[in-house]
């Protein structure tokens, strides 16, 4: 049997009338959105204050939507031709994307820093002037180090050997290095806030889509391994890496089914109510101190609020489906969410109280000094709060053992029963995005945020070195890569639990919340309060508790890694010989 590839998915049945109609719709929509994006962009460039935010948001959303629509029109129109190169491009994105985003995420932060330094150099610190390309070249930050030195020495009062004078009477260095000139052109837009915001938004959208696709594939692989199967193996070649992509294309082509008697507008709207907050909470989620879309002083509350709104989408979906299983799923979701938000809130109060701030970057910065400075290991109570938080987020993300809203053995598929195609996939994008978000939140609040477990003074000299040293420091010692790694670690634990634990009954869910987790979380909050009051920082008890908790945490992490490694190294025995003999490509 030939491998099922992305091309096959693209070639599959478009009816004769559906294809031109789809192309036309997408193309018109894309052009309209592009015009809207341009208009909003113009507004944003002139609007200060809160209007600026809105215009930026509108521009970015309209721009992304326009690109998506035009791309979709293109792909559908040429679906017979694009197979091979789309396939290669997709593979590049898939392999390079997850690591690449993490690395690239650090590079723009450094570039921003350079551009800001250039602006400050030119206009003085704190000024907001607009540099021309020639100014950027003149500052010379893109040149090799020696020529920067030369320029700095010769440029006292900006009087270099000049060839030309620009519009504002500033002397411009002539005959700049060609790469410097090129980089100056490329980076000129980076000095504007609008450009940075749009880049960040596009990055967030791209990251979330890649994340969801990767995680769905990963979950299926993990599930397969845990059940002595192989999981997806065909699509794309290497371990079925393109399975999610092929599934996505398949889902886009599916018929959009509505039920007779379903509340149509609500039915259509519900997936977006679930999806948009899941996407938007990434705007306030810091990937590192420098790499965050908007560093809000109420960042934690903002994320909590958006997670709460997303639930409403699921509930409305269950209601609008006009199906009793969906409605039951929705009611389960409602009472589960309302109940588990309380222990979740109490568990969140512990780090907030310990650090005294709701700003996520500030909470992260306090955990910079390696393993033992992580917040979870400060006292027994913070460790307990971390465990409670993780359990409550399992319920908040509808993950097993709390996946009652979609319990497929009892409720068909719960709230998702009547959904198909694109709308159905939106729910799953939202779910996986939220899973990663709560994992990353657990890392930020309790487990050292974007810092590595290594002591703070390791590699500290590189923090102020040249560009490449700082970039390397950002990758190795702190930076987005670490946060993404930790987020995926917690994501893996969630997947692991899902395929290990049986689903519990609704009354057991309620019992676990109201009679176990709620009193426990209150005790933990009380304990943390008294700990903060009575145990002074640096006292014997604090140090001993810190060390004991750290040892416990390290032990748990090592145990998890050991178990996974053991399972992986024995996978051939686990999988069984029959499957191994038919391993594709062997």
């Amino acid at each position: 049997m030939a491998n099922f590839t992305v091309e096959d998915a693209l070639r599959s049945r478009w009816s004769a009338s559906a294809k031109p109609r789809a192309v036309r719709t997408f193309a018109v929509l894309g052009i309209v959105l592009a015009v809207a994006a341009l208009g909003l962009g113009y507004l944003a460039s002139s609007a200060p204050g809160a209007g600026y935010w809105l215009a930026v948001l509108g521009t970015a959303l309209a721009g992304v939507a326009a690109m998506t629509c035009l791309g979709a029109a293109f792909v559908i129109q040429f679906s017979r031709l694009v197979g091979t190169w789309l396939f290669r491009l997709a593979f590049l994105i898939f392999v390079g994307g997850l690591v690449g985003i993490a690395l690239l995420a650090w590079v723009p932060a450094l570039l921003y820093e350079q551009v800001d330094a250039a602006v400050a150099d030119h206009y003085g610190a704190g000024a907001t002037g607009v540099l021309t390309v020639a100014d950027l070249e003149a500052v010379g930050w893109a040149l090799p180090t020696d020529s920067i030195e030369v320029r700095r020495q010769g440029a006292v009062g900006w009087a270099p050997p000049t060839d030309s004078i620009d519009g504002r009477g500033k002397a411009v260095v002539g005959s700049a290095h060609p790469t410097a000139s090129f980089l100056a052109y490329a980076l000129w837009p980076l000095q504007f806030r609008l450009t940075r915001d749009i880049l960040a938004l596009v990055g967030v959208v791209g990251f979330v889509s890649l994340l969801a696709m990767f995680t769905i594939w990963w979950e299926r692989k993990v599930a397969g391994r845990m059940q002595s199967r192989l999981g997806p193996m065909r699509v794309g070649g290497w371990h079925g890496w393109a399975q999610s992509m092929a599934d996505g294309i398949k889902l886009l082509q599916k018929e959009d089914i509505y039920l007779e008697g379903a509340d149509r507008p609500l039915f259509k709207l519900a997936p977006y109510i679930a999806f948009m907050p899941a996407l938007a909470l990434f705007l306030a989620l810091p990937f590192s101190a420098a790499w965050i879309c908007r560093d809000l002083d109420i960042g934690l509350l903002f994320i909590l609020a958006l997670a709460g709104i997303g639930v409403l989408g699921v509930i409305v979906a269950g209601w609008a489906s006009n199906n009793k299983w969906s409605l039951l799923g929705a009611m389960r979701e409602a009472c589960q969410m309302i109940s588990y938000e309380i222990p979740l809130g109490f568990a969140l109060l512990v780090p907030v109280m310990t650090t005294g701030t709701l700003r996520l970057t500030a909470i992260g910065e306090l955990q910079a000094g390696g393993f033992h400075t992580w917040l979870a290991f400060q006292s027994p109570f913070t460790l307990a709060a971390a465990v409670l938080f993780f359990t409550a987020t399992l319920a908040a993300c509808k993950r097993a053992p709390f996946d009652l809203p979609e319990a497929e053995s009892e409720l068909v598929a719960g709230v998702y029963t009547e959904y198909s195609g694109f709308r159905w996939s939106l729910f799953f994008f939202a779910e996986y995005a939220e899973m990663f978000a709560v994992g990353a939140l657990a890392a930020i609040l309790f487990f050292g945020a974007w810092y590595s477990p290594l002591p703070a003074n390791w590699g500290a000299a590189w923090l102020h070195g040249p560009l490449w040293q700082r970039a390397l420091y950002g990758i190795l010692f702190n930076g987005p890569l670490w946060l993404i790694f930790k987020g995926f670690f917690f994501l893996f634990v969630q997947i692991w639990l899902r395929w290990t634990l049986p689903r519990i009954r609704l009354d057991q869910v309620m019992y676990a919340c109201v009679q176990v987790m709620l009193p426990l979380s209150m005790l933990v909050l009380l304990g943390a309060t008294f700990w903060a009051l009575l145990v002074p920082h640096g006292s014997m008890l604090a140090v001993v508790a810190n060390l004991a908790c750290t040892a416990l945490g390290v032990g748990a992490v090592l145990a998890i890694i050991g178990i996974v490694f053991y399972g992986y190294s024995n996978r051939r025995q686990l999988v069984g010989t029959l499957a191994i003999e038919h391993w594709p490509g062997s």
Partner: protein
Amino acid sequence: MTGEAIAFYLLAAVVTAFALGCVLASNIVRMALCLLGTLGGVALLYFLMAANFLGAIQLIVYAGGTLIVIVFGVMLTSRAYGTKLRVRPLEMIGAAVVTLALLAGLTAILVRTAGPVVSPSTPDFGVAQIGTELLSTYLVPFEVISVLLLAVMIGAAYLVQPEKK
């Protein structure tokens, strides 16, 4: 036109549209969704007025809590879904006349008595100040509210307990 004005008019339009949606919708879940839109718009208005904490609390408590309770209540009490509760036209017209008159009167008074437009000179308050205020100046109301919430919790639990056979 300043950014604040653009944002305000945009949000005002959104809030008004959703509030009108609440008025016009006959389906109760749609009304709840329109309420969500209104609440979200008002939360954004709080952000516009530099009351960030209040905006976030509005989203958490209202949109994340109250609204879910309302929708839950709709689900619990809707076995007769589909039988619409018709509003008598006379009642509707009367209510419309009264509310429109009230709106006109209020607007007239507000516009008539409007002082000169002053831009706010107040500093933007952070979360820390709100916390300090709550636990110093407003300590008594804060405690009373917490007692009230406890009473509400017990009362609600008592009210919905199943009838004893």
